[in-house]
């Protein structure tokens, strides 16, 4: 490191920022890698069906797929709006 660099380098450490972003992203992408490919479509269709009866937002449904050994679990979570 040169003397000039020494005064310039008190900026943020971008490498640690890169590492943090990558760790989150890679973990997320690895989790969705093992999911069946029909999952996003399933989520859309379920949302359409529920909207026939209840007015819910785009993110009212979360579909979670988990694999544990030989057991596969499909977890479906629907948040209904408050009744008025």
């Amino acid at each position: 490191m040169s003397l000039l660099d020494y005064f310039r380098s008190s900026k943020t450490n971008t490498a640690s920022l890169a590492k943090e972003r990558l760790q989150i992203l890679v973990a997320h992408e690895r989790a969705s890698r093992n999911q069946p490919s029909y999952l996003p479509e399933l989520q859309q269709e379920l949302l359409a069906v529920i909207r026939k009866y209840v007015n819910v937002g785009q993110d009212a449904i979360t579909v979670n797929f988990e694999q544990d050994g030989n057991q596969e679990t499909l977890e479906l979570n629907i948040v209904l709006p408050d009744e008025r």
């Binding site: 640690s16 890679v26 690895r30």
Partner: protein, 270 residues
């Protein structure tokens, strides 16, 4: 039986062809009969990096379509008689590659060669997936940079699910990390992901670090695999990588900043 190595990365421009040329030459120079195959159909460049672009007559697609024999298409390297190059086609598109066709070529080469190096194109289309399909070992070339690391992780996912070994339930492909274009001084300044960072994210066995080096461009300018430039840092890094791959223990180099004199410390020389 030959050992099939795929050189892959997902992202373009990280040094796949440079690496393929270097390790193929390195293995051949160690006395192992080696073939290196360009899978980048439509955009071949391995011939240029190897310096045999004017000797290309037949290519991979000609052999697949039975328009030429394997022996007619293989180019023997002029510097090392253990090394052969199989160029990609420049005129066809990637759909000319078939799994059966590539499988047949690799099977035939396996009878005669010790190592087969498959230089994968960038991306995840047919050329890239076929280059890795039959592999025994994968060299994942990664730059210490976010998009390259992410793409490498994506390739690891494909390697573990869409290869012949995975489909047949055999022992998985052995994956190795080659971290290229590394600048220890920038890592020290906190401007670049360190080798430990990348290893922690990808959890891969490190085969070697290739420093950012002027010698790589000089080598490609002249059509000489950089491993033949024995004075250069990148050339030495590849020589170490080949040795480690062959089972030798070599301490890792080029990870720490070079010691500089007082003058360059004060005024900076790079």
């Amino acid at each position: 039986m030959a050992r099939i190595i795929v050189v892959t990365s997902g992202k373009g421009g990280v040094g796949k062809t440079t690496t393929s040329a270097a390790i193929a030459m390195g293995l051949a120079k160690r006395g192992h009969k080696t073939a290196v195959i360009d899978f980048d159909v439509g955009l071949r460049n391995l011939d240029l990096i190897m310096g045999c672009e004017r000797r290309v007559v037949y290519d991979l697609v000609n052999v697949i379509n039975n328009e030429a024999t394997l022996n007619q298409a293989l180019i023997r390297d002029k510097r090392c008689d253990q090394l052969f190059i199989l160029p990609a086609s420049q005129t066809r598109d990637k759909d000319a590659l078939t799994t059966e066709g590539v499988g047949k070529i690799l099977e035939e080469l396996s009878k005669d060669f010790k190592y087969i190096v498959c230089d994968s194109p960038a991306g995840i289309e047919r050329g890239a997936t076929l280059a890795m399909y039959f592999a025994d070992d994968a060299f994942v070339v990664t730059n210490p940079e976010v998009s390259s690391v992410r793409d490498s992780d994506r390739m690891l996912g494909i390697l573990s699910s869409k290869s012949r070994r995975a489909e047949n339930g055999e022992e998985p492909i052995k994956e190795y990390l080659l971290l290229s274009r590394y600048s220890p001084d920038r890592v020290k300044l906190g401007e670049m992901l360190s080798v430990d960072d990348v290893q922690e994210i990808l959890s891969l066995h490190l085969l070697g670090v290739i420093p950012e080096s002027k010698s790589v461009l000089n080598a490609s300018n002249s059509g000489t695999p950089v491993i033949l430039d024995e004075q250069s840092d990148a050339g030495q890094a590849y020589t170490d990588i080949v040795a480690r791959y062959l089972g030798e223990t070599k301490p890792h180099r080029f990870i720490e900043e070079e010691k500089k004199g007082l003058f360059s410390k004060l005024f900076g020389s790079k």
